[in-house]
Structures are given as C-alpha cells and as structure tokens.
Amino acid sequence: MTTHDERIQQRAFEKCIPLSVTLEITLRCNLRCVHCYNFDRELSYLPERRSEEELRDDEIHRILDEVRAEGCLYLGLTGGEALMHPRIVDFVRHASDSGMAVRIKSNGTLLRPATVRRVAEAGAAAIDLSLYGSTAETHDAFVKVPGAWKRTLEGAQTARDAGLSVKLNAVVVQSNADEVGRMLEMASELGVSFNLDLQITKRYDGSRSSLDLSVDRGTLERLHRGPLRSFVPGGDATRKSIQCPCARSVCGITAFGDVYPCIGAPMRSGNLREQSFHEVWESSPQFRWIRELRTDDFPACRSCVHMPYCRRSSGVIYSNTGVYNGPEKFGDDFVCIEAEVLHQIHDEGRASETLPAGFTLRRHSQD
C-alpha cells in the first residue's frame, strides 16, 4: 500500500515535476567544518569566485517564482549557512506565501529566539541542523569553532519550542563514529528527528581531503551491528530502481544560479542568469540525458546482488568519481562497501523490520 505522499512523489518522478528544490542562498558560513562540500573552509571563499557574485535578492525572488511555477512544493534554503543571509526572512515569507513548504538547512548556531520567531512567523515549516558529535569537544573540533555544539543544541530546542519541525543531521566520520549511539539518544531526548549520513563527498572546489575522514569498513560493520542495527533494511525493503529522483522530481540551484540535478550532484546543467528555470528544466541536455538513463546504463549496479541494500546516490558518486551513472565497477565507491555490509548483516538474520519513527539514513538526493 502506498501513501498519498508516495503517490505524489512517484507521479512527480514519472512526469518530471520539480517537487523538491534546494536553493543555496549564500556560501558564506560562520563555521569551518572539515568535511564541507562547498569548499575548503580554511580559505576565505570559493577559489576564483567572489561573494559579490552570489545571487542578488531580486534574482532569488525571481527564482522562487520560477521554481514554484514549475511545480515545486518542497523548498530547501541552504548555504553555506542560510541564516547568514540578511534577507532570509523575506525569502521564507515569499516562498511560504506562494504555497511552498520551506525547510531551512542550518548549523543552528544562529538560531536565537528572535530569529526563530521571525522565520517561524514568515512561514518556515522545518529546520535541519547539523550535528557532528555527542560532545562539545568532538563537534567543536569538527566545525572548528568553540562553543558551536552548545549553540546548535540550544538552537534545536528553541526551534522545537517554536513549533518548527526539527531534524538533526549527523555526518558520521571516523572521528565521531563512537558517538553515534549517544547522538541518537540526544535526538530522542530532544524529541526531534534524526538523520545519519555515512557518505562524505569530494569538495566542489575539487579538493579531496574531506574523503580522508570517511569511516572504514570495520567501523561501518561495527555501527551496523551496534547502534545502527535497526537501520539495516529488512527483507522486504528491496530497492526498485537504481535511478535517483535527481533531475526528475529534485533539483538544486547554487548561490551563483547554476542548476544541478540535485544540490548534491554538481553537474552544471544551466544557469538562471542566462535562462529561466523553465528553460533549464525542460531543455537542459544534462537533464535529458539523466532522464533517459535505464538500468542497463549503470554498469556496476545493473546486476549487483547487493542492490536491495544499496543507498546509492548518483550525486555522491558523480561528486567523487565524475561518473554520474557510476561506479564503473563494484567497489569503486563507498556505497558498494556499505551495501555489501548491509547485505551480509541482513543475511546473518540481524536485520530489523522496523525503523524507529522519525529516524532515517539519507540518500543525498532525497532530502
């Protein structure tokens, strides 16, 4: 049995309606996360670009109208740190008034009560916050700003108390893997949703050092046999399609107006300073190519025995290998190892048929 939401998602996928759009409103950020996919935060800004080149306020308002007209229902405003943009409340109000459900993706450190009140009054539906450890020591070392952990958790409480739907997003790396269980408990104690992301991507500036942070196979196995055992897919959780919703029901727009198949797939498919969103969505050669991909076009995946357990994201694979329909052979990407581990644990009979409510493991393009 499918829910109304699943039927709408499926229809948007089949008819290529951009139901979920993520818009970067700025790349500026007040943290310096070691894994940041935007660029190496030891630098002041993205190499060869200037912050003055980011979308102007009037351009963002125009883009909001254009994605809405094309079918967007779920709008994510992200960064950088989205709350660093001085006009974010105006963007939230514009999007909400035109009928979109607005989710702000934030590090949470700027969620003071007055800010939360303003974005809530403007119509924000939800806030996703990033958590990188169960202790201030781990989290603050990851984001390289002392005091950030405390402010993020205070922000989560403030947003929750204001009635916003709050989700803690944790990127699991080798250095915080031992804290995953406690992070899950913290989300539960806070009464908020929790999302775990086990995959790290190369940065969009081309640097690869972030990949060194990724968990190894031994850690992956330990996590899935331990605190994440309830996330191991059960026997009926088979994956029906290799294809992501990228460029079909999902789309991403960068702070410079570049259009991507999703914000996690940095394949430049048009620019909204040169074309309308409608033109890009309908006519981009990259989008058309993605929409025509069939199972046989995924060389390592088409006959993979681990497919029912795979959380493959074309965006992540494209980011890391440059091949959207990759990997070219099994094992070239982290997701292959993860699928193999999940399959093995499932076959050992340790899988759980039920996931805790409100807790997810993310495929990048589906958020």
Partner: protein
C-alpha cells in the same frame, strides 16, 4: 451582517501536481488531495472574497443551486479551518 473572508494559513503548502491540487499540512506532514470543486474553493479562498462570493462563483461554474453551493462551500471552509489550512477574517 458579518462578512466572513477565508484566507490561507501559512501552516499549509499547496501545489497542483499533474492536474491534482494537493495541500500539505506542513507540521503534520500530511498531504491531502482535492477534487475539482474543492480545488476551486481553495483557489478562491485567497483572502479577497467572502464565503458567499466564493459560493456564488462555484454555483455559476459548476452549475449547482446557489443554496447548495453556499452550504457546501461553508462546510468545506469550516473543514479547512479545522485543519488549520484556512483562517477566517470577520468584518462587520
């Protein structure tokens, strides 16, 4: 006489998807599909028309008796108010 004007609440998002109007109750994360008449009432309930004016348009466009349209419109508006999808502005 009090003029009752429905307007959309910020707690509900909406979109026409492949011809079907859906409402999303954002905090409940619930999607609701609307039929043709309900869709038209939703479109008209933008804070510029009283319930009676919406009902008159519905009666004309769907060829139903005015009193039936008025009853059905008022009932649907009440239902949406109950879901926090609409708010009512009352002016005397």
């Amino acid at each position: 006489m009090t003029k009752r004007t429905p307007e959309r609440s910020r707690s509900t998002a909406w979109q026409s998807i492949d011809g079907e109007m859906v409402l999303l109750r954002v905090r409940a994360r619930e999607l609701l599909g609307l039929n043709e008449v309900a869709r038209r009432i939703w479109e008209l309930a933008d804070g510029t028309r009283a319930i009676e004016q919406i009902a008159a348009i519905v009666a004309a466009e769907f060829d139903v008796l005015p009193e039936v349209a008025e009853f059905d419109t008022a009932r649907f508006v009440e239902e949406l108010i109950g879901l926090d999808a609409l708010q009512l502005r009352e002016e005397s």
